[in-house]
Amino acid sequence: MADQDQSNNFSVLIVDDDRIVRETNRRFTALAGTQKQLRMEFQEAKNGKEAVYLHLAGASFDLILMDFQMPIMNGIQATQLLRQMGVKSRIVGVTSESDQQAFFDAGLNNCIQKPLNPAKIAEFLIVSKKRKRIGTSQA
């Protein structure tokens, strides 16, 4: 029972320099998670550097929603660094750019076109949740 409870926890890091986008992405992801009966936890970062610092401080996440263009450190740089640090989280790029190859080359798992909505996010929660269950049962 305790394992099952824990397996429903789902942590998300939202990385975007715009507070409106962070807020709406958080709400849409929360709704999608609730529909999947997940207990969602959120943290936010205003740029790639903050996202990296969170991980250096010991944080880890099931899902990272990473914006492409941000000041200080962009999504590509942050994704590269996180992968170099050994971060295994699912990193989903969120971009309006048509050219996503550089973003994928940096270590993305998937990419979503802006704007986000619950339907776009739900498919990543399904796959991630399945991985979580496999991970829990192997522990």
Binding site: D18, T24, R27, L116
Partner: protein, 152 residues
């Protein structure tokens, strides 16, 4: 027709108008669906934040475009931010102007940028007024003892 039915009809017509004229798109409807009992004012709050940020960005862009030597990269980064936030709340017209605005920045076309900025400002004012009308209608429904109709 009772008052609630009248108000619901007005909201439906006004929402249809906003979509038909391209002020908002389906993303705005998605946003409205996030409204629930625990956060009934969510849409109003997010929209207020958006217009607050919009005003700051427009002012920053205006200042940048007034400079003798325009830093188009800086203007572009402001446009990019506005493009992202407008698309996330479904402010379709503002988003579309930002697409044209980005092209002007890439081309380092100052006059084009100034025209786009004027258009952005105009669209922000129009959308703000329209959404205030929508939110007033919603408040009237609640004051009359009804609930805001679910968005389709």
């Amino acid at each position: 027709m009772d008052l609630l039915s009248q108000l619901r009809g007005q909201i439906a017509d006004f929402s249809a108008f906003l979509h038909r004229e391209g002020f908002v798109d389906d993303q705005f409807t998605q946003l409205q669906k996030l409204r629930d009992e625990s956060s009934p004012g969510f849409v109003v709050e997010v929209v207020s934040l958006f217009f607050e940020d919009c005003e700051k960005l427009v002012n920053n862009m205006a200042k940048a475009l007034e400079q003798q030597i325009v830093d188009f990269k800086q203007v572009d980064s402001h446009v990019h931010q506005l493009k992202g936030s407008s698309s996330s709340i479904g402010a379709a017209r503002i988003h579309n102007v930002c697409i044209a605005f980005k092209t002007c920045c890439e081309d380092q076309n100052r006059d084009g940028c100034v025209r786009c900025l004027q258009q952005v400002n105009h669209e922000c004012i129009q959308l703000k007024n329209n959404l205030q009308t929508l939110f007033k209608l919603e408040q009237q429904i609640i004051a009359a003892g009804g609930s805001i109709p679910a968005m389709q």
